[in-house]
Chain length 487, copies 2
């Protein structure tokens, strides 16, 4: 398969290249309006800008109020057989870190070592940069080819950085309309510093809870910490928490809770095969992670394929934090009246998070810790997209024909509420596009200028490929993706 | 035995009563100079005042510099056969709590509900109030009887509120001189709100250490916390700490460390008998403690004699504090690189604290936690004084002849470095005197005015009784103390 673009795409790509200076200025301009999730600064104005982008394409758009920040809803009918729901976010983190080397709202272009010309600014990568560039790619497609090969629906939220708390209800409230979509796309710069894009086939679910031991009928002081020396006759809630937690895992963190793993499925054989190939070829390599995160040894001493398999297929039960009593300097003694642990569980297909809560509660009760309170603060399920989905195949094929060998992650070990697409809407989703940026949530967030151009081209290729696959006008092989990697 | 004072004491007590208004003003005056341990404010000036008090009695005094606050050293030779070392402290806590109802350095007199006229001020009870009143009692003794029946040595420190860090070295440096003492007295208001004085026959020792689990060769992130989702393949130092701690005790806090209890002796039969009598008579009653400290149940469900026996005879292994990872509000996830517990052990006779450290270290190593670091921050042994000591007998007899039935605590469950007297100097010590105050380390610290008078009288009675017992001029029975309680 040649890397040359199909005939219909060539004028589109040419148009993108020709007009790129203008597109780059549009992207930079969008970054110059702050839209800070936590403070609300610029949120409404930015939502209106996004609605304007949709209208500029000839679409309809509404800025839909929620109890939090508004969600930009819209549609662009292109008379196409298939429709794609574009998910995105227009909010960003604050930029109050000291040490920015240029104005975080200035979107200045600077030469970065090894990376070349890059836009510096809050949101450059996460994710106002790709959002603005997405609109430019669609506009150029229309200019050069008359119309996009798919219809678009839009749901662009403004609270992603605060946990997307009104997004799931929005989807549930607009179910009939959004179900028109055949796929969901979250446009994002997916390349790392080395130019390797990655694609995830789902995300782990999360269950976040607090366990608290307090003095009560079982013992311990019930109202406030008391003199440390009274532990001779009064039990200690910190010990109680330690002992309760200690029943949940063994010394190697093997999870001991009956029913915890109920429903867990192994990775599909085909994904295992892809994974093995990626590890063997060095495409997936744990060494950069070990270096970056200062880790000398993985659980069970695993390395290579077995290690990556563990990351992508196993749930976890993690202590995010633990606190109780006196934790300052020196030798103050105290018998505290409470101790608290913050714990997260990451679930994998097809565990049921509600069942996990029940299993842990039952386990604590059965081990004599009925008094230890369990407060669930957050809970949503995993999501899983098949490697066979047209949206996924089109993205992988696009990466390959553009000369990249993507990492395929069977699951994102982190969590995002994408179950709303895959499990509530019933529509497969894909995150992607070429392009590179980094330092999200930190000083000097950036994206490369070359990446913005690659991103636009990868998007138009994806639209083209996705429509062809979904309409049955082409096969994966014809689009150029080979599961064994590039020829 | 009549409660009437022996003939030689009557003029002394009369003198104390007659001159009490003046003594009260002297006590109040002493409280008006701040002498704050943590800031050093007024420390030197107050040390000089204390030296002045000694000289006023006709004694010699020196303000001895240390690397911290000075220690007032002195002696008062009265040509007596026996000598008493007076231990005391002239430093106080800060008084920066908001809500004081009068100036903490004003020593105002106010009527307190149920308690009557009381001095309000920092140090009123802890312990500048009793220290100043002690000097007045000695002065009145001299005025009325010509001389005190014992010689005095003085060691009054200014760092008690910061852990007495230079006091033990001071004693070790002045061993020969201080060994002249036949007993040590720490003058203190020993009555509770109900007028029941208590006397302890020793103190538990303390061993304070931190246990820290950090990422290392065993696993875990080694430099900083990493994304919580990586617990799927990287072990968590917070789990490691929880599992290491969990090996030390069982779910009922029974200590599981081999060698921990080595050397432990039960309470002497005579003290057990005294304890049983006190519990049966209701003199020792856990209910006020349960109410004040909001405790509903003691360890093992114990009550009464078995409970008190436990408090006075058992060591403890207490978690003072535990901390690691993210402990704020909400659902932030983190895989922390370290977790820390602060732990105190209280030892009883004749445990060896160094052996306890070794036993815990060995236990952790043997259970596979050699990587968990143990940092000893403080360690000193228990001390134990016999019920038969003249200093103790004189104090108990004094309380009884003044109409009080003292609680006798075989051990102070808290810790104080009094081993320096009993085990380094080899001299028995006693803490006491009547009088009442409370709210130490808190707003509106107070002592009652009536208590100051009782305190002075109890001290002169104690001096008289102690000298008579120690010189073999009287027996306990003659002084009026009956172990079975008052007739």
């Amino acid at each position: 398969m040649s890397h040359e673009a199909p005939e219909t795409l060539r004028p589109v790509i040419r148009r993108i290249r020709d007009a790129f200076d203008e597109d780059l200025e549009r992207v930079r301009g969008f970054l110059r309006t702050p839209s800070i999730s936590y403070t609300g600064e610029g949120i409404q104005e930015t939502a209106e800008q996004v609605a304007g982008f949709i209208r500029e394409l000839g679409g309809e758009a509404r800025v839909v109020p929620t109890e939090g920040h508004p969600i930009v809803s819209g549609r662009l009918d292109q008379g196409a057989p298939k429709s794609v729901l574009v998910y995105g976010m227009y909010d960003v983190m604050p930029a109050d870190e000291p040490n920015w080397s240029s104005d975080p709202w200035g979107a200045e272009i600077r030469d970065l070592p090894k990376l070349g010309r890059s836009i510096i600014g809050r949101g450059a990568v996460n994710t106002k940069g790709p959002l603005a560039a997405f609109f430019r790619a669609v506009a150029r497609y229309q200019e050069a080819a008359g119309r996009l090969p798919v219809n678009l629906l839009f749901a662009i939220e403004g609270e992603e950085e605060m946990g997307s708390r009104h997004f799931v209800p929005f989807v549930e409230d607009h179910l009939e309309e959004l179900k028109e979509a055949d796929a969901v796309l979250f446009p994002f710069f997916s390349e790392d510093e080395e130019g390797v894009p990655s694609l995830t086939l789902g995300t782990k679910g999360i269950l976040y809870f607090e366990l608290e031991a307090r003095g009560g009928d079982w013992g311990g002081p019930t109202e406030r910490g008391i003199h440390g020396s009274y532990n001779a006759w009064v039990a200690n809630p910190a010990w109680r928490l330690v002992k309760a937690l200690g029943t949940l895992v063994d010394a190697d963190e093997k999870i001991l809770v009956d029913g915890f793993f109920e429903g867990q499925e192994p990775l599909p054989p085909r994904e295992l095969e892809v994974l093995r190939r990626q590890v063997e070829s060095g495409l997936l390599d744990e060494r950069p992670f070990m270096e970056f995160d200062h880790v000398r040894r993985f659980k069970g001493g695993l390395r290579g394929f077995e290690l990556w398999k563990r990351l992508f297929s196993q749930p976890q039960l993690n202590i995010d934090g633990i606190v109780g009593g006196y934790v300052g300097e020196g030798t103050k003694t105290l018998l505290p009246h409470r101790a608290l642990a913050k714990v997260d569980v990451r679930t994998v297909p097809r565990m049921d998070p509600t069942r996990v809560v029940e299993a842990i509660r039952h386990h604590l009760d059965r081990h004599g810790f009925a008094d230890v309170e369990m407060r669930v603060l957050n809970k949503y399920p995993w999501s899983k997209v098949s490697l066979d989905e047209h949206a996924v195949q089109a993205m992988l094929g696009t990466y390959q024909v553009m000369g990249r060998t993507p990492q395929i992650w069977p699951l994102n070990p982190g969590s995002a509420p994408y179950y709303v697409f895959e499990r509530i809407l019933g529509v497969p989703y894909v995150t992607g596009g070429l392009g590179h940026g980094s330092r999200q949530h930190s000083t000097d967030e950036y994206c490369t200028v070359a990446g913005v151009l690659d991103f636009e081209i990868s998007l138009v290729r994806w639209f083209h490929a996705y429509a062809a696959l979904a309409e049955g006008r082409a096969t994966v092989e014809e689009l150029g993706w080979r599961e064994e990697g590039p020829a």
